[in-house]
Amino acid sequence: MKAPPFKYHAPRALAEALDMTAGLDNARALAGGQSLMPLLNLRMAAPDHLIDLGNIAELRGVFEDGARFHIGAMTTQRDIEKSAPIAGLCPLLAQAIHHVGHQQTRNRGTIGGSLCHSDPGAELPVAAMALDAELVVAGPRGERAVAFRDFPSGYLSVSLEPGELLTRVSFPKAGPREGSAFLEFNLRPADFAVVSVAARVALDEAGHIAHASIAVGGVQAAPIRLLEAENALRGHAPSREAFEAAARAAAEIDCDGDDVHPADFRSELCGVLTRRALTQAATRAAGSRHV
């Protein structure tokens, strides 16, 4: 299992990388390589050009900006995991990253790579969906903003136009009386999720649900937001009944299945994990002053 031949490029600046992306035929961007390298070794991908984004400093790092914070697309999952600001600003992302692969893969794998590869079992897209992440995409005609919910475009594909690269991702900071939880089901903790659920619950001063968001992954090509269930929770006290109603909605998801984890089983898991994630998130919300 050896990679097929390709021409390797290592641009040092984003502009250079964009020129290559736009100018080279059958080119693929190489982020952390934790998904693309296996595909190359298995000869399931055969690009003529590989554009390594690993040397572009401007694509790395975490910075805050008002109510949101931004993460460069080439920031490693390990950097996110170790980032004290992220743990404080956005516990859901920190909870999700905990489920991503192994340290050896987090050391190289990047947030941008994960969002662009868009594996149905990946955790970061689910967190991004629950958090209403905003993406910045650069291309031949400059930058454009894309809401994460519009980013996935099918199985293992995203809505990047030819010549475009994802450059950064932004997330909202967690508000007061907000709690979150990221739960996933798999046979071994570090595997991709069979089903994962990211939940956020914000309470109002009276302790009622001011806002909830629920994203479910592992069930279809892209993560699903349960908007109706979220709306139905608004104004209710966090209760088992309320969360069970949301869980029932989750269990209605029309899941893709396979021979080990069939569709009906995944639907069940959607319900169970949704109920549990909402319960945990609400408990955390109630127990926390500011996060």
């Binding site: 050896k2 990679a3 097929p4 000869r43 089901f185 595997d191 089983f265």
Partner: protein
């Protein structure tokens, strides 16, 4: 470690002599062997499970720069003495042997079957060339399910065979009809067990070099059985044994599949001879899923007859076994499963008919446990079903059926492969279970379980008793030599894949000679240093090679004393062997070291040898087995099951184990722990799957899940030691025991945890989805 008085090292937790090298990256595994000028090979394999090759066009592949050859069956056939690789092992009941071809000739019978061999200056280029091969295969209907494959109307898995029914065998003793007629109760269960494999972390590999000057072939092969490989190679290539040397270097795990001779092991040497250049092939992981033998898939339809107290009267039924596309290792495996099913229990009558079906899957051959985990699983599931039916506790139903210690040796009217009766040699099975129950807190468990349930947690405790026939013969060889330099060299036909064979032998020999094990050089796995040998299978090497080495070391010690008696002018009776020297008892200064003795026995031109003895301080011995030695054990597992998701967590795992005298308890424990985790994999994680066209669906470690450190439990191991009377060391094998007990134990624990839902588990592996379905069905009741 210091030496000591002869014989004192048995039972010591001696550090392993293998480790220093391996811990520093100093191992020499197959792909680490650099043969100057070697080319690298890649196999082009069948993309379909069954078909006829209409046309293969290799012109573009051949034309690629740096490609030296693209070989098909017709290119290699002139080098071979027969069309097929003759691998048949004798077996009763086999209707026809299905030997593989070196490369597919016309018909391909499983996805992954080698069709062509590309040889190039690098693996990368060879893979590039493989992508340029154009093939036209006429698809044929594939046989995926062995039960359906036995239907008269089934398509044929191989056009070159009369049908798919490759063998019919069985076990039959006692008056089974009477047992069922007289029974107070009868129950019937069906168990379907899925396919799994060895999956050593090092894949297979072969390097071959043909030396035209000496007309000699040297093959480095990551095999468990170099002597068998040499025999097959010599036969197929028309060479003599003297011309053929097979060396197993460091082997990164065996677990059974590396005992089987695969077509690549012939294709690579043949290519090296044809091209007159060394050739290397290293299996990749995709190939280990599609081209390496695997097993475990069995379908059991069984009935148990028992009396009102739950004593077994008889068991009968049918075992259908998926043999894959050929018979590279005979049909021993389902026979093992059936005979091992009897386990430590009194079973007055037994009749199982074994039907083997050819399918269009990777050929089946032993994987750690070799059918025994399945047999034990079936017996233990039947016992749990009996316990449920009678309302008797699971430990009690077993107690009523266990063979009492005072009935050892205990013969069972089943003939073994060697014609002898299956006879349990030693052990105390009831005591083993008693200790295991005590260690795991069986008695208090119901209270803990009830308390957990009040918190909404479903915990359960399960158990399994089993025996394992170990130390299969007919023989193993070893020699011990003290070189004049003082270097002690042990050679053996046994082979090492991580079990610690070198430590085991060095410990035995060091003990006999009073020298530190780490100073002893053990050479194994090389047909040149040990002309005779069998190698690693059936948990046999401590039994066979261990006793051979002991016998050889005893002879060397005796000769050293005899020679020293002359050199020291003392009576042999007054001599003792301590710290690598023979000395006069009570006069420690009056001594001759083994080095000095070896030197004087090496002779000097014209001088006579001490006492006119034969030259050399060396001896060789073959240990001939006198029947299998039966290891036994009891496993208990405590699990927690999430009844809403089907997730299973193993909270605790206890093993009480008896493999007779232990040479090195540390290494025994390593074997048990590794085996248990393999068995956990077989129960909850590992599953080779195929679609309805018999296409493999699991071809990476992403799809086929090995247990990881975060799902493996801590394994608490307790020992009993019932020495076997069948060999001087009193040892029994330990390498497969861990895997045998695990599936039945875990499943029993899960059933216990989910007793409120009346869950009864039959099929393996057990996925969360299957478990959820059982919970749902149980809840509805």
């Amino acid at each position: 470690m210091a030496g000591g008085t002869a014989g004192t090292l048995i039972g010591a937790r001696t550090p392993r002599v293998e480790d220093a090298r391996l811990l520093r990256g100093g191992g020499r595994f197959l792909d680490d062997i650099v043969v100057p000028g070697a080319l690298e090979a890649v196999f082009f394999r069948s993309p379909v499970a069954h078909g006829l090759i209409r046309k293969i066009d290799v012109a573009a592949a051949r034309a690629l720069p740096d490609v030296r050859a693209v070989l098909t069956y017709d290119d290699l056939r002139p080098l071979l003495t027969s069309d097929r690789i003759s691998l048949a092992l004798p077996a009763a009941g086999i209707r026809f042997n299905v030997d593989p071809f070196v490369l597919a000739r016309k018909e391909v019978c499983y996805a992954g079957e080698p069709i062509a061999l590309i040889v190039a200056t690098s693996r990368r280029v060879a893979e590039d060339a493989a992508g340029l091969i154009e093939i036209d295969i006429e698809p044929l209907p594939a046989v995926g399910d062995p039960v359906a494959g036995l239907d008269p109307g089934s398509p044929k898995a191989r056009l070159d065979c009369p049908d798919n029914f490759v063998a019919k065998t069985g076990v039959d003793y006692g008056d089974i009809d009477h047992a069922f007629a007289a029974a107070a109760h009868v129950l019937r269960e069906r168990f379907r067990l899925g396919k799994g494999g060895g999956f050593s972390i090092e894949p297979r590999g072969v390097v071959a070099r043909y030396d035209p000057l000496e007309d000699r072939l040297t093959v480095w092969d990551s095999t468990q059985m170099p002597h068998r490989a040499r025999a097959v190679l010599a036969t197929c290539l028309g060479l003599s044994e003297q011309q053929t040397r097979v060396v197993a270097p460091d082997v990164g795990g065996g677990f059974g599949p590396k005992a089987v001779f695969h077509p690549e092991e012939l294709a690579i040497p043949a290519a090296a001879m044809l091209l007159k250049q060394p050739v290397k092939w290293v299996e990749d992981r995709f190939e280990s899923f599609t081209a390496t033998v695997a097993e475990r898939d069995q379908d059991w339809d069984m009935e148990a007859a028992f009396d009102a107290e739950g004593r077994l009267l008889g068991i009968r039924g049918r075992l259908c076994y998926d043999h894959g596309a050929s018979t590279p290792y005979g049909i021993a495996l389902p026979f093992n499963a059936s005979t091992n099913m009897i386990g430590p229990y009194i079973l007055p009558a037994f009749r199982v008919s074994i039907e083997l079906c050819l399918t269009n899957k990777t050929p089946a051959a032993p994987t750690r446990g070799a059918g025994r985990p399945q047999g034990a699983y079936v017996m233990e599931r039947l016992l749990d079903a009996m316990a449920r039916k009678l309302g008797v506790p699971r430990d009690e139903i077993r107690r009523r059926n266990l063979i009492p210690a005072d009935r050892m040796p205990y013969p069972i009217p089943v003939k073994q492969r060697d014609g002898s009766l299956m006879t349990y040699d030693s052990g105390d099975y009831p005591e083993c279970q008693r200790r295991a129950l005590a260690a795991a807190g069986w008695r208090d468990f119901p209270a803990r379980q009830a308390a957990a349930l009040r918190e909404g947690r479903h915990i359960g405790l399960g158990l399994c008793n089993y025996v394992e026939g170990t130390g299969r013969g007919p023989f193993e060889s070893a020699s011990v030599r003290v070189n004049p330099s003082g270097q002690i060299v042990v050679t053996t036909g046994a082979t090492a894949q991580g079990q610690g064979v070198h430590t085991m032998l060095a410990q035995i020999v060091g003990g006999e000679l009073g020298v530190a094990p780490e100073t002893i050089l053990v050479q194994s796995g090389d047909t040149q240093t040990s002309p005779l040998g069998l190698g690693a299978f059936a948990s046999r090497q401590a039994v066979t090679a261990g006793n051979a080495a002991k016998a050889a070391a005893v002879l060397v010690a005796r000769k050293a004393k005899a020679a020293a008696a002359h050199l020291l002018e003392a009576s042999p009776d007054d001599l003792e062997l301590v710290d690598g020297a023979v000395r006069v008892r009570g006069v420690p200064g009056h001594r001759k070291t083994l080095t000095e003795i070896a030197r004087s026995l090496a002779g000097a031109a014209g001088f006579s040898l001490p006492g006119g003895m034969a030259p050399g301080l060396a001896a060789a011995s073959d240990f001939l087995t006198a029947g299998l030695t039966y290891t036994n054990g009891t496993h208990l597992a405590e699990v927690e099951v999430d009844h809403e998701t089907g997730a299973v967590k193993i909270l605790r795992y206890v093993v009480v184990h008896d493999c007779g005298t232990m040479i090195n308890p540390m290494m025994v424990e390593g074997q048990i722990a590794g085996g248990v985790v393999h068995g956990i994999g077989m129960t909850l994680f590992e599953w080779m799957r195929y679609d309805e066209m018999a296409q493999p669906l699991t071809a990476t470690f992403v799809d086929y899940l090995l247990p990881t450190s975060d799902v493996a439990p801590r394994i608490e191991i307790h020992h009993m030691e019932s020495p076997t009377p069948l060999n001087p060391l009193g040892v029994k094998g330990a390498a497969e025991s861990g895997v045998i007990g695990a599936p039945a134990t875990i499943v029993s624990a899960i059933e216990d945890a989910l007793a409120p839902f009346n869950v009864v588990i039959r099929d393996l592996p057990l996925t969360p989805a299957k478990l959820r379905a059982l919970v749902r069905a149980g809840t509805k009741r």
